[in-house]
Symmetry: C2
Subunit: 80 residues, 2 copies
């Protein structure tokens, strides 16, 4: 079994309302001295087999079809 981590983040320039809400909440909680906060998603996926190239192809297809909205999001695949 291959363990992979997919990280999906908003492309630069795309407004992140969740990030903005978190910035506001952190300020309310008394935090200062921080800049932007941008939120994304992380998926820990197990892929059967030992062929990393095949696993990367499958994970990429999973991202393109489901895990990421490639119009506004970037994704990265790494093996852990």
């Amino acid at each position: 079994m291959i363990r992979a981590r997919v990280v999906v983040t908003l492309k630069n320039g795309v407004l992140d309302p969740q990030g903005k809400a978190i910035e506001g909440a952190l300020g309310t909680l008394g935090f200062a001295g921080f800049g932007s906060v941008r939120q994304g998603k992380v998926f820990d996926v197990e892929v059967e087999g030992e062929d990393r190239d095949a696993a990367r192809d499958q994970l990429t297809a999973m991202c393109d079809k489901l895990l990421a909205n490639t119009v506004i999001e970037n994704y990265s695949v790494e093996f852990v």
Copy 2:
């Protein structure tokens, strides 16, 4: 400005309904040969200053107070 990435994931043993839903959807889309899928959150945070130790302390406090539910979630902080 220091750029950090906080990754928040569910602790082992904690049921992940979102992950289960994604597993189902991937199956429906025709994907096979994969095991579990577990979803988490990632936060890209900018912290002012250049002192990484101070930044790590602040990010840890942010996680403990807001970004993570430490009863069911783990978090990691790394500088990017």
